[in-house]
């Protein structure tokens, strides 16, 4: 197995990663950079637990090779909070009890951040469309919808 060194920019910090080539981005984030917020749930880009913002767009970290993320601005859930407070999407998820086991939660939160960046006042249908890229097996969808609705600019 060949060993490579790549440079990744994650949450506005530059990292140099040396390891086996051809690993998924989510694996490198978790194993090498100590960022467990992105999770592999299915490994084929369906469940959304591995969501990473790549230049602001939500992508499946299990389908991207780490090498493909070189030169991109990567954001994980760990990069969202401000110095001493949670990001407003994170706070809304707490206020609306929008999670249970929370394995999927960072994916939903990042999906919401990206949605509101592009579309500050999405309709319910637009919220459902955007967030159907993630799966919540505990079934917290109604509260997730409530959390995102509360963040719409009027």
């Amino acid at each position: 197995m060949s060993i490579t060194t790549i440079k990744l920019t994650v949450n506005e910090q530059d990292h140099e990663v040396t390891g086996e080539a051809g690993r998924s981005l989510v694996d490198v984030l978790r194993s090498d950079l100590g960022l467990p917020g992105s999770r592999e749930g299915c490994g084929i880009g369906i469940c959304g637990a591995c969501t990473v913002l790549v230049d602001g767009r939500p992508m499946s970290g299990c389908l991207l090779l780490a090498e493909q993320a070189v030169g991109k601005q990567l954001t994980t859930v760990e990069g969202l909070p401000l110095a001493d407070s949670l990001h407003r999407v994170q706070q809304a998820f707490i206020d609306h009890r929008a999670f249970q086991c929370a394995y999927c939660t960072p994916g939903f939160i990042l999906g919401t951040v990206a949605l509101l960046d592009q579309n500050p006042s999405p309709t319910d249908a637009e919220i459902v469309e955007a967030l159907s890229a993630s799966l919540c097996r505990c079934g917290s969808y109604r509260n997730i919808l409530g959390a995102v609705q509360s963040l719409r600019s009027s």
Binding site: L35, I44, E78, F99, C138
Partner: protein, 741 residues
């Protein structure tokens, strides 16, 4: 009051920051990655197994095969269970595709996976049987030759004179319903990390049953249980699927073989589908009813597919007897519950275990009965639902029964009396109802310890597993209320078998009731200890003291007070501590099923309005109303979220979920082909109510609104189109086939 308040989960901050310490996240220095070689044959003899090429690969630290077992000083291959039919690793026989044969631990996951390919296995194929009903027939290929049939359990319930009651009934209807194999699909897969240190073993695992895992490992390694420590950090979803020993033995065996190095075993999504599944069930319900609407007689015959190993199925299929009857007054009831081996992966609890399959059958059937006597299904249920004081089919007199309130709640929630607005054309709308009755674990125990320290902090030591249901938050609320302190003063520790006492599995919606009651016991004992300690400090006898609001006060005018903190410090101890315990021992006669079926019964209902596209068969659930009986509510918002979550989860087995097999091989073993409900698959409008009782006991609510989902939808489809669906899931194809007949 801490109880009754909708506080967010205690670790909400971690949950939105992505910093919950799931086992899947764990990495420790020197950690090896373990993986599993699995059978590619559904039934056969292993004629040759050669792992030498894997063992000699660079980066491979350990390979474990059956040859490591049952040798002096080695582990024991047969796993403990009611029926000992499961080897940790196959020795000379495989019985399902996916059965573990060998284990590898390596420096990286990639090396471990590559090493699996270097293990050579040769088989001699044997005839296999996959279909549950075929397997139950005489002459079917035997999954285990030790018996003379694949049916390994026949549970019987006998109540009243069934033949006479059928003869006296005006109408008798018999229908058969089927539920397919499904998968629990927790997003955090099964995962564990094990490490030996001398003769002691520590395992971190994503499990619903730390003490069950400890017991299983003690059996495999022939060790004393206290020499094994099982730690369970928050779990990324369980739904029953994490109730058994699933990976813990693999990581422990690999660490043992690798000289104690830590080994993590994290299953892939594909492996999840061969690790544990929902029981397939074929259930025939025959009921006699009079024209005035009174049910007279019922005979339920249920076949449960166990897969190739029985694990807990014998107990579940026996326990299912009281879940198969339904929440109705029926003077004569017989139940026959059969557990059957097939050459498929093993089955275990799937949220609403056995109840979902049972409710699918008896609640679809309820509408058929109502139709047969020309009665409105709502009125028919109102006339027959069980009440407190009624005799159940077990012969027990029921207490705490709220089926009518559950039913009336969903009738209100759905606005049942409002006329249906038919959109016209190919779209047809209809409404359906379902009510469910479920037992909890009949014989079970929960223990806890509660301590107060010199800062006045209360620490609850509990082995109840936090898997997203919010149980640690609820137990902290119970602690805070019982001790009269703010919630912020309470900590919850565990599960960690080295420091937290015994609890049975966190399943069967038992924790809030069982552990909640144990916590109340511990709090009473701790308060007694605190008052005793305060007496010398206040220089008064016990009967001159009172405890409340987090302090001990003297009676009489000008009372003096001491806080817990002051009493601990004044007594010159580190902390005071007390234990709590709650146990139940419901029991049924094994021959007749008569006795007590459950310490109390779980109760829920659902009502919905659906729209069927009669051109495509597609069904949309427009509105759904759910209700469950919650006893005394601890956290209303989190309770409602359980109700919601059950409906959403229930949409899966109702409309989407079926594991499809081809000659024993799972065809749809990932989420691209095995659909679980997404944001787009839930009812357009969902309302739910938790029916509570201020002075009542705590009830579990982890499953109650799930089993009604499928029959409520099927009944609504029948109402809309006259098509009766009897096989799950309710796919567009099935509906269309029904429409064309």
């Amino acid at each position: 009051m801490a109880v009754g308040r909708s506080v967010p989960m205690l670790d909400s901050d971690d949950r939105v920051r992505g910093s919950v310490p799931y086992v899947a996240n764990m990495q420790v220095p020197g950690m090896l990655h373990g993986c599993v070689l699995r059978s590619t044959l559904a039934n056969g003899r292993i004629t040759r197994l050669d792992a030498s090429a894997a063992e000699s690969m660079a980066g491979v630290a350990a390979v474990v095969t059956a040859s490591d077992f049952d040798v002096p000083g080695g582990p024991v291959s047969l796993m403990a269970a009611m029926i000992k039919d499961q080897e940790v690793l196959a020795r000379d026989r495989v019985r399902y595709i996916g059965q573990p044969i060998a284990l590898v631990a390596a420096e990286t996951a990639a090396i471990a996976t590559a090493a699996l390919d270097r293990i050579s296995v040769q088989y001699e194929q044997l005839p296999a049987v996959y279909d549950l009903m075929e397997a139950a027939r005489d002459g079917a290929p035997l999954v285990h030759e030790s018996g003379d049939s694949n049916v390994f359990l026949h549970g019987k319930l006998r109540h009243g004179d069934l033949d006479a009651a059928f003869s006296a009934s005006d109408v008798v209807i018999e229908e058969t319903f089927h539920s397919p194999i499904a998968q629990q699909t927790s997003l955090e897969p099964h995962v564990s990390l094990a490490q030996w240190n001398g003769g002691k073993l520590t395992v971190w695992t994503s499990s619903q049953g730390p003490y069950g895992v400890r017991g299983a490992l003690a059996g495999i390694f022939a060790m004393d249980e206290p020499d094994i420590r099982v730690v369970v950090p928050p779990v990324g979803g369980g739904y029953g699927g994490k109730s058994g020993t699933r990976t813990e033995h693999f990581s422990s065996l690999l660490s043992w073989k690798a000289g104690g190095r830590p080994v993590k075993v994290l299953l892939s999504r594909e492996e999840e589908f061969v690790t544990v599944t929902k029981h397939a069930a074929t259930i025939t319900v025959k009921t006699g009813v009079n024209r005035d609407g009174a049910m007279q007689a019922r005979h339920v015959t249920a076949y449960w597919g166990a897969g190739a190993v029985s694990e807990n199925t014998a107990a579940l299929a026996r326990g299912a007897m009281v879940r198969l009857v339904g929440p109705y007054r029926i003077p004569a009831v017989n139940v026959d519950s059969y557990a059957v081996y097939t050459n498929l992966p093993s089955s275990g609890a799937y949220r609403g275990a056995m109840s979902s399959q049972a409710t699918w059958a008896y609640e679809s059937h309820t509408d058929s009965l109502a139709k047969a006597i020309g009665m409105d299904p709502l009125e028919f249920r109102r006339r027959n639902l069980l009440h407190t004081g009624d005799e159940f089919a077990t012969g027990e007199t029921l207490h705490g029964i709220h089926f009518v309130e559950c039913l009336e709640s969903v009738v209100r929630g759905l606005e049942w009396d409002r006329p249906i607005e038919q959109p016209g054309g190919a779209l047809k709308r209809g409404r359906g109802l379902a009510v469910m009755m479920k037992s909890t674990s009949p014989i079970t125990k929960s223990e806890c310890r509660l301590a107060v320290d010199s800062q006045g902090i209360l620490t609850l030591f509990t082995s109840t597993v936090e898997m997203g249901q919010g149980t640690h938050t609820a137990l902290a609320q119970v602690t805070a209320e019982a001790m009269g302190v703010p919630l912020e003063q309470v900590r919850v520790v565990g599960p960690d078998t080295e420091i937290t006492p015994y609890d049975a599995n966190t399943n069967a919606s038992r924790s809030t009731n069982m552990m909640g009651t144990a916590v109340q016991q511990a709090a009473e004992a701790l308060k007694h200890t605190i008052v005793e300690a305060a007496a010398p400090l206040l220089d008064l006898p016990l009967d001159q003291l009172t405890i409340g609001g987090g302090r001990v006060s003297t009676l009489g005018p000008a009372p003096r007070q001491l806080t817990y903190e002051e009493i601990v410090v004044g007594s010159d101890v580190d902390a005071f501590e007390a234990a709590g315990e709650h146990s139940t021992s419901a029991r049924l006669d094994p021959e007749t099923g008569q006795g007590i079926g459950s310490p109390h019964y779980h109760q829920g209902a659902g009502a919905c309005e659906v729209e069927v596209d009669t051109e495509t068969g597609k069904v949309r659930v427009l509105r759904y109303a759910a209700a469950s009986f919650a006893g005394r509510l601890i956290n209303p918002e989190l309770a409602r979220l359980q109700n919601d979550g059950n409906v959403v989860y229930g949409m899966g087995p109702a409309m989407l979920e079926e594991m499809v097999f081809d000659a024993g091989q799972v065809v749809n073993r990932n989420l691209s082909d095995y659909m679980i409900p997404s944001f787009k698959d839930i009812p357009d409008l969902l309302t739910s109510e938790t029916i509570s009782e201020e002075e009542g006991e705590f009830h579990g609510i982890g499953e109650m609104t799930l089993p009604p989902v499928a029959p409520a939808i099927a009944n609504a489809i029948y109402d809309a189109t006259g098509v009766r669906i009897r096989d799950l899931p309710i796919t567009a194809e099935r509906v269309l086939r029904g429409l064309s007949q």
